[in-house]
């Protein structure tokens, strides 16, 4: 997996401290560092990305190579320290790995970290494949340490979660201990910021020139669909691309058997301007293939304008490629064929095929969140209530039949959006659902805000004892670190009590009646009140007894289906039944069945 390759490359380059917060598609990088740790690397799941970046920066201040991992939206959380760190710099090489998610497949936004790199004035690496990611991350450490600046490293989902074989080889450097050398360079003051800003602006064009000969930036010639080193035939059309789009472009040219010049951009910022000029000279038309922002496209337009190269640049701005979403072989082949004036490959169509049923993601059978949402829904039946949600598996509580997530914005926002809604609409009850890991990530300041400003909300903590959505990483509430060591467990209830939450109650959501009563008590308590629903994720606990439906008692009322939407309960041939391969024995269907037809299977 690309993420394994990034971890292996970082270990080979002598990384000593690795921090991060889980987020698809980045999570396996830090997990792999833990798995492959030769024993002298410190790795932690930090509480959020800002914290992770600062911990890694501290290590790099002392000269230790450090890496921090996150997904693209995590960079928004970490942007405060990153923007300043760009001015302050580092001593040990520091690589900030930010995984982008074109599509998006599992994210709130399609933001482009290459654009962020330009804004933060930092170098960024954009690998094509797992193999290139392995090599490039080592280059990123070298560059970072040589220039004394943090460096961004931006793989996308298909690189992170693509598998390809690589040779790892021996470490080229050991991590070792660091020494923090005191001095004014570590304290950011306006005068220092001015001086450093100037130095960065002076350094970037020099670096851009240097990167024109970087091994993963290249001008390539393709003839008859394959690479050719010294082609006899000249071309007037070219493709500029980078990241995984380069792989799509090569595939398309191979399918078309076409002639074309390619500019492959491995460092979109600072842009390898001289190399780009060499690419553009002699071409009439250039198609830019890249996912998300038109980064390469804008840079090429500037190079063409500054260096007076008469060339037409086609891409997102000209409407030749899509501005949003992920590329496919087909979309790239069609755009390439249009550029070259040839027919696009024929794509098979199955026009007579029946429409397969829609299959949106759902909460797993046995998921305790289903019980929590159902309990709150029952408790608030007939009253005016708004349910703010947050980021995690429980966002899926938005779907029918639960329909218990009215808002979802970003990590930690449920607690605070609920406060704004309460100020605007005080006659409704405002709930905020938040998961355990999200609570530690950015939930706590929101609770402090509600207590301090006296904003009445009902906080519902969905504590399933894991960071489920991203693959079960540890967090401060578990008493275990990323490296598997025992840690002080930070229990959520005492935190809430210490913050001044008026009413804190913990209960098991799988006991529906008790859970419903707990919600009612929290609502009646007023002020900032909280219910903590404690029940582990099915992936981290043993199943309960399998349930079955007694067909003699079942009246086919379908209350179980219509209230819970559990994937294990199905209806075929007029009969409602439970799929034993999916049932996890949570028993809530038995608790909602009005005829007592559901019970433990015999």
């Amino acid at each position: 997996m690309g993420n394994h390759a990034i971890a292996a490359g970082a270990i080979r380059a002598g990384v000593g401290v690795v921090t991060g917060y889980p987020g698809t598609p980045s999570s396996e990088i830090l997990e792999t560092v833990v798995k492959r740790n030769p024993g002298d690397i410190y790795a932690e799941w930090s509480v959020n990305e800002k914290v992770a970046l600062e911990v890694a920066a501290g290590a790099a201040y002392a000269g230790v190579r450090s890496m921090v991992t996150m997904k693209q939206v995590g960079l928004n959380v970490a942007s405060d320290p990153l923007m300043s760190l760009a001015y302050i710099g580092v001593k040990g090489g520091m690589v900030v790995v930010v995984a982008d998610d074109p599509g998006p497949i599992s994210s709130q936004t399609e933001q482009d970290t290459r654009t962020f790199a330009g804004y933060a004035k930092l170098p960024v690496f954009d690998p094509v494949s797992p193999g290139e990611a392995f090599e490039m991350i080592q280059d990123a450490f070298e560059l970072s340490e040589r220039l004394g600046t943090p460096v961004l490293f931006r793989p996308t989902t298909r690189v992170c979660h693509g598998y390809a074989p690589i040779e790892v080889g021996e470490r080229t450097r050991e991590p070792g201990a660091g020494v923090f050398e005191k001095g004014s360079r570590w304290v950011i003051f306006p005068r220092l910021s001015y001086a450093n800003h100037k130095a960065i602006e002076e350094r970037l064009p020099v670096l851009a020139e240097e990167l024109s000969s970087y091994r993963f930036n290249a001008v390539e010639e393709v003839r008859g669909g394959a690479l050719e080193h010294d082609p006899a035939r000249a071309v007037t059309r070219g493709i500029a691309t980078g990241g995984v789009s380069y792989a799509y472009a090569r595939e398309a040219l191979s399918m078309l058997g076409a002639d074309c010049r390619i500019l492959k951009v491995g460092t979109p910022h600072p842009f390898p301007v001289d190399l780009a000029e060499r690419f553009l000279r002699g071409l009439d038309e250039v198609l830019v293939l890249e996912e998300l922002d038109p980064v390469i496209e804008r840079e090429l337009l500037m190079v063409a304008a500054e260096r007076r190269i008469p060339v037409t640049v086609l891409g997102k701005r000209s409407g030749h490629t899509e501005r949003a979403g992920e590329s496919t072989v087909e979309s790239v082949a069609a755009a390439t064929a249009a550029l070259l004036g040839v027919d696009a490959p024929v794509v098979p169509t199955c026009s007579s095929a029946p429409q397969p049923p829609a299959r949106p993601p759902v909460l797993c059978a046995g998921c305790p969140h289903r019980a929590s949402f159902h309990a709150v829904k029952r408790a608030m039946r007939g009253t005016k209530a708004v349910f703010s949600g947050d980021i995690g598996c429980y966002t899926l509580g938005n779907a029918a039949p639960l329909e218990m997530v009215d808002t979802c914005l970003c990590m930690g926002a449920g607690v605070t959006i609920a406060q704004g809604l309460e100020r605007a609409e005080p006659d409704a009850t405002h709930f905020a659902f938040i998961g355990d890991s999200t609570f530690f990530h950015t939930g706590i300041p929101g609770v402090v805000n509600a207590v301090y400003n006296g904003t009445d909300i009902v906080l519902v903590v969905l504590d399933n004892s894991t960071t489920a959505m991203t693959g079960h990483q540890t967090h401060p509430g578990l008493g275990r670190t990323a490296q598997g060591e025992v840690a002080e467990r930070i229990a959520i209830a005492p935190v809430l009590e210490a913050l001044g939450v008026s009413h804190v109650e913990t209960c098991d959501p799988l006991r529906l009646e008790e859970a419903e009563a707990a919600v009612k008590r929290a609502v009646e308590a007023g002020g900032v009140s909280a219910v903590i629903f404690e029940s582990p994720c099915i992936a981290v606990t043993a199943p309960g007894p399998m349930h079955a439906i007694d067909q003699d008692l079942c009246t086919d009322c379908q209350v179980c289906i219509q209230r819970l939407g559990c994937p294990a309960i199905m209806r075929a041939g007029g009969v409602v039944s439970i799929d034993t391969s999916l049932c996890y024995g949570c028993s809530i269907c038995a608790q909602v069945c009005p005829t007592g037809a559901i019970g433990v299977a015999r």
Partner: protein, 219 residues
């Protein structure tokens, strides 16, 4: 490596085939069915045979009971991480509707669809009181003009005593049909090499039963 990859001549050396041909496979189904493991077994078999391989799969939110597709590309000439439409030698489908959804990936007339008979109804079907049992999907697959092998996963799982062996049964059927790029023996070797010992025998048995569906001697 065998199979109907584009441009493969009968007399080409294996190395020449690898340089020119790409053998594409699509694994599809519903999150939690063991799709990723099946693609990993094939990828491990390819690596053991010295073939370069790329795979790409769905991870994250979509895994929770949603449609999951894993792309496997074998051969040096594969550039993109995703399989182009119309180029897969086999669609290995853990569910009939997912087979239909992924059918455009199949190389027309040059591959096979290996599909598990059992339908997995989405929650949305039960909620809207519309019954989905997969029969319409299987009916369409049987008439679409492509080679289709239907595996009765329930029978295989019951025989082998585990609900988790559907993936190896489908691999067995595809290998026997000659569209996987590897033989059942090669897949069996990977199973023995990579799976924990307590799962090996049940998976080897499922592999053989799956192959029987292709030969027509499993029912």
């Amino acid at each position: 490596m065998s199979g109907p990859g584009e441009g493969v001549g009968m007399n080409d050396s294996p190395a020449a085939v690898l340089d020119r041909a790409v053998h594409d496979l699509i694994f599809c189904g519903v999150g939690g069915q063991g799709i990723v493991l099946a693609s990993k077994i094939v990828a491990a078999t390819a690596l053991a045979a010295g073939c370069p391989v790329k795979t790409a799969e769905t991870i994250g939110m979509a895994q929770r009971g949603g449609s999951v597709t894993s792309h496997v590309r074998i051969g040096r000439a594969a550039h993109a991480p995703l399989v182009p439409l119309g180029s897969a030698s086999a669609i290995i489908a853990f569910e009939p509707a997912e087979a239909v959804r992924c059918l455009p990936y199949l190389a027309p007339g040059r591959g096979a669809v290996v599909v598990s008979r059992r339908a997995v109804p989405p929650v949305t079907a039960a909620l809207t009181r519309s019954e989905y049992d997969g029969s319409e999907m299987l009916g369409y697959l049987r008439e679409c003009g492509e080679r289709v092998i239907v595996v009765d996963g329930d029978v295989v799982c019951a025989t082998c005593g585990s609900p988790k062996v559907l993936n190896t049964a489908l691999l067995g059927a595809a290998a026997e049909a000659g569209v996987l790029g590897f033989s059942t023996d090669e897949i069996e070797a990977t199973i023995r090499r990579t799976l924990p010992e307590r799962f090996v025998e049940m998976n080897v048995q499922a592999l053989a039963l799956g192959a029987g569906y292709t030969r027509g001697d499993s029912e």
